[in-house]
């Protein structure tokens, strides 16, 4: 059983009022990331088909759907992580602020600097200290100025709500902190390179309920700085953290709406069946 599911008892879902207010605010935000007819092929199989979605600045969008529906495949297409896998072909368009991230001549490295990613399993660099992990994205491209690195490390760790827990042991090995802390460290690392969009691939699925709660609270705070797209298996989590939700099923986007509408009044029968737990 998914340990994160227990966390639903901790945070109450937003009330209808709060939700409406949230959605209204979000609706005014400019669109940052757009996909048009995005399709991902694995060899002769289709991972996701013809996905056209919009992601607004400083909002949280949840991608939900049963296992194998293509939500992770779609997420990974957004910062060109598929480039490394043999036999994967991405077609269609994905634009960040109007610029096609798959256009010829666009370096995936520059795309990934603006669109960061947090994975299912926390991935601290095992041989580095906490501090070195946070600033890895800067240090390893040649930024050596101690003052800058110190400042970025503190800011990122504060934003990731980890500063108070690790400020006295920044030089300690990153592998030695708890799973939840490691996951927040991974988030801090992405914030350190000033990613504007944060892709989260089931960021709490390997965490206990307390750590899950911390990450969810963090997502709320991070909305001040970044646009978040989160893949989750946990419908309660989607309801708690997101402004918008897209429901994926067998490689297609079946329905997309603001989260409150999606969970209270879905248009599609399959969406309704999935969110009420009848399959998936």
């Amino acid at each position: 059983m998914d340990p994160a599911a227990d966390a639903r008892h901790v945070t109450p879902p937003p009330t209808a009022d709060q939700g409406a207010e949230r959605a209204a605010q979000a609706a005014e935000a400019p669109v940052r990331l757009v996909t048009e007819g995005l399709t991902v092929h694995y060899g002769s199989n289709v991972g996701v088909r013809d996905v056209s979605l919009q992601f607004r600045d400083k909002t949280v969008t949840a991608l939900i759907g049963p296992s194998g529906c293509g939500k992770t495949t779609f997420l990974r297409a957004l910062n060109r992580m598929h480039d490394l896998t043999r036999g994967v072909k991405v077609s269609g368009k994905a634009t960040l602020d109007g610029h096609d991230i798959y256009a010829p001549g666009v370096d995936p490295v520059t795309v990934r600097r603006r669109i960061g990613m947090v994975f299912q399993k926390p991935t601290p660099f095992p041989t580095m200290s906490i501090y070195d992990n946070v600033v890895a994205g800067l240090k390893l491209v040649g930024i050596r100025n101690r003052a800058i690195l110190d400042e970025v490390a503190e800011r990122s760790l504060r934003q990731a709500a980890l500063w108070d827990e690790v400020k006295d042991r920044l030089k300690a090995p990153a592998a030695g902190i708890s799973g939840g802390q490691q996951q927040r460290l991974s988030i801090a690392r992405a914030l350190a390179v000033e990613a504007e969009v944060l892709l989260m691939d089931e960021p709490t699925s390997s965490l206990d309920p307390q750590s899950t709660l911390r990450i969810e609270e963090l997502i709320h705070e991070l909305k001040q700085y970044v646009t978040i797209i989160i893949v989750t298996h946990n419908m309660q989590q989607a309801a708690r953290v997101s402004d918008y939700t897209a429901f994926f099923y067998e490689g297609d986007v079946i329905e997309t709406a603001d989260t409150d509408t999606m969970f209270t009044n879905p248009k599609e029968r399959r969406t309704n069946e999935y969110i009420t737990g009848r399959f998936g």
């Binding site: 043999r86 603006r114 041989t127 991974s186």
Partner: protein
């Protein structure tokens, strides 16, 4: 086959396959003990062979060990026969120079080749590199000596420590490359993705996140390559050749013929002097010690500082 089927049929009783009776449980434990016995037997025979060699070398060579053995050079056989100071000091220096040079040449190239093999599977050079590396690994060491002879000894017109180091580098190279590839492959893919997701270029990810995580394994591979090359006599016969005296200056160890322990061990062993035979055994002790010492030393230096959850 028929009896096995019958056996299964018989056990498929009303309470199902998995029934545990005292009888079949005892049988399972008995089998476990039998397998364990053979494992211990196999391990013991390997250890016995190893200890026999070490013990034999030690017993025969220890009498020749003295301070002179480590500080003097060999000179002519009359020195040993008449009890004048003689030793293998020049051989030990020569071995360190030649082996060290081999390492210096083989490690960077071998690690780089290992990285290409593991991290760049789509690179056009990957398949030919794999084939060539395996070929080099399987090639008799004496041919590597011949190669070093052709490219260095012949043009230079003299045997040299340099050519010996190059010959040993050919011995180490494929081992280092394969070991590096092997350990890089077991580093979780997620570490690479995490680095790439930070917008780090590929070579940075490999050099600063993947390779450090694999450090202990790479070092082990280098040590195996070193131990293997340190014991090679064949590739040194017509490269570093041999020398009965200290060279005049460090540079001469590279540009002139030098002595090495395995090659010297051979020439001492086939000599007609019993004093030299003892020195040959002692050379074996020193060779063993050098390999063991480098192993332990390197292990201590590169010990994993951080406990990781790889």
């Amino acid at each position: 086959m028929a009896s096995a089927t019958a056996d299964v049929e018989r056990r498929r009783g009303p309470s199902g396959y998995a029934e545990v009776t005292p009888r079949n449980l005892a049988r399972r434990y008995a089998r476990d003990r039998v397998v364990l016995f053979f494992l211990v037997l196999a391990t013991a025979s390997v250890l016995l062979a190893l200890l026999t060699i070490v013990g034999y070398v030690f017993v025969n060579g220890v009498s020749a060990l003295s301070l002179d053995f480590f500080t003097q050079d060999l000179g002519s056989p009359s020195r040993a026969i008449q009890g004048r100071p003689t030793g293998l000091g020049h051989t030990i220096v020569g071995t360190l120079v030649v082996d060290g040079l081999g390492l210096l040449l083989a490690v960077p190239v071998g690690v780089a080749a290992g990285i290409l093999l593991s991290e760049y599977p789509d690179h056009p050079l990957n398949p030919p590199l794999r084939i060539l590396n395996d070929t080099l690994n399987g090639m008799p060491a004496i041919l590597k000596g011949l190669l070093a002879w052709a490219i260095i000894v012949k043009p230079m017109g003299t045997f040299s420590g340099l050519s010996g180091g190059v010959a040993l580098a050919f011995v180490m190279l494929p081992i280092v490359a394969r070991a590096t590839e092997g350990v890089l492959r077991i580093i979780p893919w997620s570490i690479r993705e995490a680095g790439l997701a930070l917008g780090l270029p590929r070579w940075r990810v490999v050099l600063n996140t993947v390779l450090p995580a694999a450090r202990v394994g790479v070092v082990t591979g280098v040590l195996i390559a070193f131990a293997r090359a340190a014991g090679e006599a064949a590739p040194l016969l017509f490269t570093s050749f041999g020398n009965n005296f200290y060279s005049s200056g460090l540079l001469r160890y590279l540009t002139g013929p030098v002595d090495t322990l395995p090659a010297r061990l051979y020439s001492l062993a086939i000599s007609p002097y019993k004093e030299w035979h003892a020195m040959g055994w002692a050379a074996g002790i020193v060779l063993l010690f050098i390999v063991i010492f480098s192993y332990v030393f390197t292990r201590l230096v590169t010990r994993q500082r951080h406990a990781t959850d790889l």
